[in-house]
């Protein structure tokens, strides 16, 4: 069997392309309109799984649970990047190719555009009768006069309007004047600007992801935190972000105001804070959901809130083993909140742990207690306790909101049932077996603040605005070519019966083209005077 020649198989007799020819062929394919189109369609298609399947960056827990519960199928999707679509190799490949295509397409077009701008307007076609848009009118004062007027009219909009060229040429019977005008450079400029701005957006986004950091701090009313990595609950930064860039300001949460309607819908969240930047006076201000606080080098957003009950645990030796505010995570709109209290530092004996549920407005729905409203109208805390080893010494960082029960056993009543109590604020309960006591002192709120800096934002905004402007010109600026032709008469008498013929080329959707052609013809032939002359 003859070996199939990989290159130029489409055209059997074509000369072999060779490596360079081959590369050039690939490049031409990549930068063709058709490939750009297919890549765009692929980009849309490839995004869709990102909205259907759980994604690691958006919801790590859901993605892990998905893999867990779907066996080999889940593992396959995980391995092939479907659970992190927008970071996957194939998604990246599509947009990298698309932008390679874009750049490869745009650079030559800019060069062509530049040359066209300085080149002469193309000559008038020999025959005008093959164009769909045509008209003619008698010019009573001769061709030269008509063409002068038309030229002045067309040029009145300056460099972004019509480019005009008038020439004399031979016609079938004698000489004629021919005017050629184009009005398409603005549209092309807009199109180029749009595509270049898309590249700008991509660069800004890329640079931003390298230079950004994002952190979250949970602050209880009356407490504060300092802008440093150790003080954050979570912290992520781009590869080029340097922790030393964090400005060491301090933010304290003086109070947190909420307002809920009677039905429990949130109306307003306001964090009253004091910001102390190094070397300046403390500043009292507010942070609200849509109103982040601008600080040097970033913004602080109010991202969440909840209750942080202050609890005190006394151990079997009568010593205070734990005392402090513990943020409880709200689980629903009525702020049913769960929290975990870990007490590693007991004087003697085993470590203690507690799992608690806070019901801000507890009501009995017949079977269990539930919360009916997010305000503290009838607060109740449901508490269970554990003893054993909290597992804090293993060296693996632990989630503060989860109790690792693997080496713990639940506290039990004297009659061996699992110990579980309902507390009200200010109440103290004794733990079974003389292990100590648990007191619920107060119920302040906490606020979760996100801190973020992204130096690329201004550039991104500029690129986006340029894209929008470019797009508008690209779509709405006209793409028209106009021609006028009239015979040059030898004597004044013949001039009086000169007929100017006009033709125009414009896309089908351009509904205003015919009108403009007629207007130019009218101005040229004196049926109406140019707008300029009217003024």
């Amino acid at each position: 069997m003859a070996r199939m020649k990989l290159d130029n198989y489409a055209v059997a007799d074509a000369p072999r392309l060779g490596v360079r020819g081959w590369l050039r062929w690939i490049w031409r394919q990549v930068t063709s309109m058709r490939v750009a189109l297919i890549l765009l369609l692929l980009l849309a298609l490839a995004s869709i799984p990102g909205s259907i399947l759980p994604q690691y960056p958006q919801d790590r827990a859901a993605a892990l649970a998905f893999v867990e519960s779907n066996g080999w199928w889940g593992r396959l999707l995980d391995a092939t990047g479907f659970l992190d679509v927008f970071g996957s190799a194939w998604f990246t490949a599509i947009y990298v190719l698309l932008f390679a295509s874009l750049i490869g397409c745009i650079l030559p077009r800019i060069a062509v555009y530049w040359r066209q701008l300085r080149a002469e307007v193309p000559a008038v076609p020999r025959r005008l009768d093959r164009f769909e848009l045509q008209d003619e009118a008698p010019a009573s004062e001769g061709a030269r006069d008509a063409f002068d007027r038309a030229t002045a009219h067309l040029r009145r909009r300056g460099p972004f309007g019509w480019r005009v060229r008038v020439e004399e040429r031979d016609a079938r019977d004698g000489r004629e004047l021919a005017l050629s005008a184009t009005h398409e450079s603005l549209r092309e400029a807009g199109n180029l600007l749009f595509h270049v701005a898309l590249v700008g957006i991509l660069i800004a986004v890329g640079a931003g992801s390298l230079l950004t950091y994002r952190a979250q701090a949970i602050v209880v009313e009356g407490e504060s935190f300092t802008n440093a990595v150790v003080d954050y609950d979570t912290y992520e930064a781009g590869a080029l972000f340097d922790e030393s860039w964090l400005e060491p300001f301090t933010l304290s949460l003086d109070s947190f105001d909420v307002s809920f309607t009677v039905t429990g819908r949130a109306e307003d969240f306001t964090a009253n804070v004091t910001l102390t930047e190094p070397g300046s006076e403390p500043l009292s201000t507010r942070i609200q959901v849509n109103r982040p606080l601008q600080v040097d080098g970033g913004k602080i957003y109010l991202q969440g809130n909840g209750y942080a009950p202050v609890v005190t645990v006394v151990d079997s030796d009568g010593e205070v083993a734990f005392s402090g505010a513990v943020p409880f995570l709200p689980q629903d709109a009525a702020y049913t909140s769960t929290g975990v209290v870990k007490v590693p530092d007991v004087t003697s004996g085993e470590q203690l742990g507690f799992v608690a549920t806070l019901l801000p407005t507890a009501v009995d729905n017949g079977t269990t207690l539930v919360s009916a409203h997010p305000d503290l109208n009838n607060p109740v805390m449901l508490l269970r306790g554990y003893s054993g080893d909290l597992g804090l010494d293993s060296g693996i960082p632990q989630n503060v909101y989860v109790l690792d029960e693997s080496q713990l056993s639940p506290l039990r009543d004297p009659d061996d049932a699992v110990w579980s109590v309902a507390l009200t604020p200010g109440e103290t309960v004794d733990l079974p077996d003389g292990l100590g006591s648990f007191t619920w002192e107060q119920t302040p709120r906490f606020a979760a603040f996100d801190l973020r800096t992204d130096p690329s934002l201004p550039y991104l905004l500029v690129a986006a605005i340029l894209a929008l402007v470019g797009l508008s010109f690209s779509l709405f600026a006209p793409r028209r070519r106009l021609w006028l032709v009239a015979p040059l008469a030898d004597d004044a008498h013949a001039a009086r019966s000169t007929v100017v013929r006009a033709a125009m080329l414009a896309p089908e959707h351009d509904a205003g083209a015919a009108d403009e052609m007629r207007r130019v013809l009218d101005v040229a032939t004196g049926r109406v005077r140019s707008i300029e002359e009217d003024e």
Binding site: M33, L37, A44, R265, E267, V289, E508
Partner: protein, 350 residues
């Protein structure tokens, strides 16, 4: 009457008026088609046939191009098409006014702009679609779109009032922003424009099918199925005589493009404004939340459509299909994504 009940009453009234307008637009279309067909036949017909029948063809430049039926008083009657046009226009404009009252009273009732949940999007979006059509119609005759647009609005309003309805509430803190007004209103306006463009595109595809006629069913599997579907559509379009009153595919393509272009610029703005808002509210401008993913998909598909229009081998029906998929994604974003996908935008569903 409270603003709430006034809003409901006016919206129901608008729904009924749109239904009437839809029927009238449809009648107008088929009457024009009749008149065209008859006018064409009249040109070929021998004058002798006039004596035999009761109908004489009107002169081409007479009181209207339609045939004139001889009645007792022998006056040429206003053409049926014109009467239907009058009804359609009146019903639509009054419907539009009542619709506007319904929106304003809803806004008064809830204390904020009426576009913060699905019910409100739907009533506002359908208003924009009809308004866009009315504006285009005022400038040139596009009455062949009338039945589609008012029909769409009737269905959308009906669904909104019967199943999506929710009592007005205040706004969640995350929505209390001037960006709600900007971002969502532009989104709704572009949606309204895309709806009208979509209807023009559907007509365009029918015209293509009609022009092409029946295909030979060849190939296997999907190709075969595609030919079958095409033949069904073509057969149907050939049978629908009102299609004679619909402009040529090229004209419809041009109209759809103009609308889609405006819609696309506004959608681009919507996505950008959404990113600015997300940056304010959530501290990141883009997070691939399901709603954001779909807004992106819609944007990319419409961009692909604009590309396809100028790509060799993709002109005509092929690029039209890309815009159909883009429109499907738009509707998906509004329905499926709102209702079933979890994300920061989920409050939109409530």
């Amino acid at each position: 009457m409270t603003p709430q009940s006034l809003s409901l009453v006016t919206l129901w009234a608008a729904t009924s008026l749109y239904a009437i307008a839809m029927v009238a637009w449809a009648i107008r279309l088929s009457r024009i088609a009749d008149e065209r067909v008859q006018a064409r036949e009249a040109v070929v017909a021998e004058p002798a046939t006039v004596a035999a029948g009761m109908t004489i063809p009107a002169p081409a430049s007479g009181m209207g191009a339609g045939p004139v039926v001889l009645t007792e008083d022998d006056l040429p009657r206003r053409s049926a098409a014109d009467r239907a046009l009058g009804t359609a226009r009146t019903a639509m404009i009054i419907g539009l006014l009542l619709h506007a009252v319904g929106l304003v009273t809803r806004g008064i009732d809830s204390g904020h702009v009426p576009w913060s949940n699905m019910y409100e999007y739907t009533i506002t979006g359908s208003f924009v679609a009809v308004a866009v059509f009315a504006i285009v119609q005022a400038r040139r005759d596009v009455s062949y779109l009338g039945a589609g647009v008012t029909g769409f609005a009737t269905i959308a309003l009906g669904i909104a009032l019967t199943t999506l309805y929710s009592v007005s509430t205040g706004l969640q803190p995350a929505l209390q922003s001037f960006w709600l007004v900007i971002h969502v209103s532009i989104a709704i306006i572009s949606t309204g424009i895309f709806i009208v463009a979509f209807i023009a595109t559907v007509l365009q595809l029918w015209q293509h099918a009609r022009d092409e006629g029946q295909r030979e069913v060849t190939g296997g599997g999907i190709t075969r199925l595609r030919h079958r579907v095409h033949n069904a559509v073509a057969g149907w379009a050939e049978g629908a005589k009102w299609m004679a009153a619909v402009p040529k595919a090229m004209k419809l393509e041009a109209l759809a493009f103009r609308l889609n272009a405006v819609g696309f610029v506004l959608w681009t703005f919507t996505v950008m404004a959404g990113a600015v808002w997300a940056e304010h509210a959530w501290g990141r401008y883009w997070g691939w939340d399901p709603k954001e993913v779909w807004s992106f998909v819609i944007w990319v598909l419409y961009a692909a459509y604009l590309h396809a229009r100028t790509t060799q081998g993709w002109r005509g029906p092929r690029s039209a299909w890309v815009s159909v998929w883009a429109f499907v994604a738009l509707i998906m974003n509004f329905t499926v994504v709102n209702l079933f996908f979890q994300g920061l935008h989920t409050y939109a569903g409530s």
